[in-house]
Symmetry: C2
Subunit: 312 residues, 2 copies
């Protein structure tokens, strides 16, 4: 993790930490928002993608990288590859949002279109690997990606003294497990929590069951959190996350609007999930927590389709 942090320091933004008295009052705690929506590519994903790309041996890297992600990992991997001067092949479903497609192209990625099913994505990625020899960089279940994502929490611990807890949103678990590893190494006293949409609550259900249960039919506005935990991320979430707190769609949208309107933090719905969790009675009832770090994971929203505009 320290090695990842040293590797990334010259190329990632050391994102600021924001505070807001109004939101502190609502949460009845002191909140410290780690602004990864201000990271390059607009999300923490640039950390993990860069760490993975920079960890490749030169002859392997030269053949390029590939991923099948319609989310922030796509743009992040494209930019990380461009910074190293190697090709990036991004498999995307035809229905990926315009803003994410445009960002991937702007960052120099080559888009490979496929049908919007998991099987089609994996087949398209495998075809690219067979054809080019490129290395598949998974969006979260990859040790270098996990280590890279954890550097956001390392920075936060360095920027804000005396945190009692850190909370992240949880989807595939890359950010959450990276945060666990960062805390374990740098500040083991800090408690780690995760926020998750009730409509994609595989992490909460898995922890309750004591075994990994996949997400079959995710239904949530938090498009970064629809995936299931992976082979590497699940045991870390199982053992090191104190509690996964689930929130409704209404809570997510209300939390997102509060972050925008009161704190001017332009985050995507997935980021609002962690703040929404902090506002729940369940989290408020926890004792011994005064200072909470909240990782705002990203800010890639489609400005023509904001989640509250449909409700008017």
């Amino acid at each position: 993790m320290r090695r990842a942090a040293e590797r990334l320091a010259p190329i990632v933004h050391r994102t600021p930490v924001a505070t807001c008295a109004t939101l502190d009052r609502l949460a009845a705690r002191s909140l410290f928002f780690k602004c990864e929506h201000l990271q390059k590519c607009g999300a923490f994903k640039y950390r993990g993608a860069s760490n993975a790309v920079l960890s490749l041996a030169p002859d392997v890297a030269a053949k390029g990288v590939v991923t099948h992600s319609s989310g922030n990992h796509a743009g992040a991997l494209a930019l990380a590859a461009r910074m190293r001067g190697i090709p990036a092949h991004i498999v995307m479903p035809r229905n990926a949002s315009a803003v994410k497609r445009r960002a991937t192209l702007d960052y120099g990625g080559r888009i490979v279109e496929c049908e919007p099913t998991q099987a089609a994505r994996e087949a398209a990625a495998a075809a690219v690997v067979a054809e080019t020899g490129a290395t598949l960089i998974a969006p979260f279940d990859h040790p270098d990606v996990i280590a890279g994502q954890g550097t956001a929490a390392l920075e936060l611990l360095d920027q804000v003294p005396e945190l009692d807890a850190i909370i992240t949103p949880v989807g595939g678990g890359g950010l959450t497990s990276g945060t666990c590893l960062a805390v374990q190494g740098a500040a083991p006293r800090v408690r780690v929590f995760a926020g998750e949409p009730k409509g994609a609550d595989d992490a909460a259900r898995s922890k309750a069951a004591g075994q990994r249960l996949p997400q079959t039919d995710p239904r949530t506005v938090a498009d970064g959190l629809r995936t299931s935990l992976g082979d590497l991320t699940w045991p870390i979430v199982r053992d090191r996350v104190e509690r996964v707190i689930t929130v409704t769609e209404e809570e997510i949208i209300a939390a997102m609007r509060l972050l925008w309107e009161r704190a001017k933090l332009m985050v995507e719905p997935s980021s609002a999930v962690a703040f929404a969790a902090v506002l729940t009675d369940e989290f408020r009832a926890l004792a011994g927590i005064g200072r909470v770090g909240i990782v705002l994971s990203g800010g890639n929203v489609d400005l023509d389709h904001l989640p509250w505009s449909g409700a008017r």
Copy 2:
């Protein structure tokens, strides 16, 4: 100015400076965005209001403060007064936006409603002064307000070495003239520019004419920039601003959308005016400017009425 900075240091946010490679490419320069939209109250106005409130003698302060502003100054003065434990009377036209009314109330201000004309505002404020003995704190034409606003540029000069220029939006001129004074004292080599809407271009017209010309019929989405320069701010803008660059409504909205979509900086239209000016051919043609500081003045937008949603 240094005294204002020392007075304000413990109570204002030292706002971060953001950078964005994509926007640098568009501007063909290195841009450093001073994030005053992340200031308390969501705007630089909290600096000037706090400096003015803290500069009052105790017996004067005890009688409270009053202003007639429908903009960010209203909420800023309300919070500054609450921090000092004194009353704030905010004269507002009946048609002030819901978000600004709510913010003023949340910050503990007492709203005094009036008709939406300048005469009615001034009459209502005078009535409050006569009744309560409160001190009128003008939104920009006030020496302590100007000094307070200048502290944003002082911080920026401290945060970013070797700036060649700083640009602010110009309305009443409080931020612009404060920036001029800060630069004059701390870094006189730095060139100061202002961006202004073509639909409220009194500063540009005044500089061209060599005399102050008021704004009679402002028409711009940049609601913070509809006012005219004041007695104190005009001579500073006349003598110390190298050039006022005007921009169209389309340029303002496009710049605002770029800041949101590409840099995740949730600014209001008035802030986008300065960035829009940097993107003009007029500014791009200026020689000897590599590193530009842009003061993003505020982030108080009505999320139900974004300027681009009407165009769809």
